[in-house]
Symmetry: C2
Subunit: 476 residues, 2 copies
Amino acid sequence: MLAPEAVQELKAIVGEERFRTDMETLVTHSYDATPMFQALPDGVIFPCRTEEVQAIMQVAANYRIPVISRGSGSNLSASTVPAEGGIVMVMTRMNRILEIDQENLTATVQPGVITKELHQAVEELGLFYPPDPGSMAVSTIGGNIAQCAGGLRGLKYGTTKDYVLGLEAVLASGEVIRTGGKLAKDVAGYDLTKLLVGSEGTLAIVTEATLKLLPKPEYRRVMVAHFTDLEAAAQTVSEIIANRIIPCTLEFLDQGTIQVVEEFANIGLPTDMAAILLMEQDGPQAVVDRDILRMEEICRKGNAAHVQVARTPEEGNQLLAARRSALSALARSKPTTILEDATVPRAAIATMVRTINEIARKNRVRICTFGHAGDGNLHPTCMTDARNQEEIERVEEAFAEIFAAALELGGTITGEHGVGLAKAPYLEWKAGKAGIEVLKGIKRAFDPLNLLNPGKIFAKETRPRVVITCPETREK
Amino acid sequence: MLAPEAVQELKAIVGEERFRTDMETLVTHSYDATPMFQALPDGVIFPCRTEEVQAIMQVAANYRIPVISRGSGSNLSASTVPAEGGIVMVMTRMNRILEIDQENLTATVQPGVITKELHQAVEELGLFYPPDPGSMAVSTIGGNIAQCAGGLRGLKYGTTKDYVLGLEAVLASGEVIRTGGKLAKDVAGYDLTKLLVGSEGTLAIVTEATLKLLPKPEYRRVMVAHFTDLEAAAQTVSEIIANRIIPCTLEFLDQGTIQVVEEFANIGLPTDMAAILLMEQDGPQAVVDRDILRMEEICRKGNAAHVQVARTPEEGNQLLAARRSALSALARSKPTTILEDATVPRAAIATMVRTINEIARKNRVRICTFGHAGDGNLHPTCMTDARNQEEIERVEEAFAEIFAAALELGGTITGEHGVGLAKAPYLEWKAGKAGIEVLKGIKRAFDPLNLLNPGKIFAKETRPRVVITCPETREK
């Protein structure tokens, strides 16, 4: 519950209209895209300017009110659920593209800009902003920065982190800092820009970002390959990279995903195949054509049952449709869909997929796996029912084993979704005790009163570590 | 002075041979490549294994001994001068390339590996490690990581930060942390990997690094353009980028540099020119040839007095010789050479060079400017004499004005050399008071006893900010 004086002060900053405590607004901001996490905030506030964010933080500091900043809430780690109450600060009204600087190849934006709108704005000028998270039609750049969003183009182009050059951010104290700038090189002090990217609103509130743009690739082409054998598909991924080809996307769907997508979308997918690889290359046409030709040969040599190169952009889009509709298809099949993103070194993909299947069988849960094969970022997705407590416990056990397996293979518990609430109990498995202490020290340095998105990243209790032996490490 | 017990314990860890307190060794490790900074350490230690680094740090923590880790000491910000005494920890005996993983395109190395040796090792396998600092023939990867080294290829390929995927590091407490991994995507907690890169040995001691590799570019080609007019050269840089060409290097030499280099090297440079641009493109041959042709046209349209495209790799190397010998040439002309690296947004280069010349004239000092035009990272270089105190004061005033001017244009006080001791008095100009407090908080979180490279990055006193108005901002 907020003190009446605090409410009054907050209303004085933004006006009655932009500070809400009605139940409808509270419920609307009690959850994000993560299933099974929900908590009511005490208020919801909609700032329009950096100065308002500063003033709100000063009130929050005075009255010790937690502040959870968010954009569209499309994250998948319960990163914006107000776990300890407080005020949800919705950044969507700070949604202007302030500048696209064609000389310095930068865009300066407010945090509420929708990712896809930025894509369109820069592409009209022949420029390119590569990060393309699955939620890009609704996600905000501020949210992408908070979570360090990835996407399909990560293999060739990296993730959000690689495109944030500078930030304006409001600290827990209400003070403003400015980091970086329109600069390719800047080593003046520790890199606060990269530290804030992926910090999930726990260190500061981003109010402006300067982003790096690239020239837009001139040409793009899509191809697909079907495999009766999972190993052959994974081996083909490795062969492509070993041949020094870095396609802009290199996506993978396992048999379970293929079957569910076909059932949902009826687009003629081969439900008897063990795996589909989807590849796209972009760049100058001559290079794209050459790379596609070479990937076609590698797929054929790698025993693909079927290889198809799109002849037109429309055909390319059709081929990509299978991947694009994967999540929607999986989400329809059962009441609750849990989408994870355990990530492994690229060369360990086949082992990881086999391990996931083994874990699912053992725990009697249904998990389909698709994802970014090129960068080892897999999305094992569980179709379940949150109302079935007994099944949910088995699902949780299965995911704990999946995280343990990813770490066993040199991977991580989350490639692009973030820690939030959902993966906090597992973070120590990756970071180690000493690492967690360092992370907590950084949190304290920024936010000594623990007001910014409290309860996230750091769990009250670490889950006991599951011992898992992956097939590959077993063989050794 | 070290306590005799501490000396005994340190010798017990590494043996007599690898812990030195003789004057010759102390003097040898009292300075780095930065002129006018020197301080004697109390001892010099040469660890061979991570466990030794841990044990040394435990002794250092017990006896409150500062520890300054270093590689070859080729940095230009006095970042490895033992300003407050203590032990210099030389990492050059941990110099093995542990693995080059061709499936995951990574190299795992110890910190003492020489940058150029890594280049050679990966290039033999058709792979590529882009960071190429000027000192790469002697610099170590550990030093590159500590300073976030840049180089000539920064415009297209970024800097060291963009290639460090994971680290093993020893904390001030002696504990080990492991960050990241062979992973393109990893958002498990704040990004400690990127935070440690560029932290100049003040947060932890890097004992192992996993680096990202790229396929080696198939082909490369060099060209040069001479300009009678500085503006025309700068405008040409902007035009190249505006035409969506990102060359792998785009270097600039001003008239002063041209004259000094020609005097030194006698390679037929046109001493009457206001500027030379050197461009290199790499990639598939068809693309390189097309980009070179387009850059040639842009240079001609931009009123270049002379344009030459190298016909052979040997001719390319000859053209690059002017840039490569710039520092040596400048360094020979006077007893003391101060090489700075104020950096501005690319579009502000002409303004910045003009401002530098104006500042040099006003302060009656000789400054030549060359550097990475494509990424706005300039190296204004002052030829002076450290023994002439009156002149040195004018030099310092001039550099203070240059830093102020860079900031005025949206730039930074250091693009790739680091803060160290040399630029610590200016850091607050860039980071702001609130920013400095955040940076200090991070330092305290890692190193509460202030043992790791104390005195660096944070100055005892901030230099009063010079007020400078650049020609461009004056016109507004």
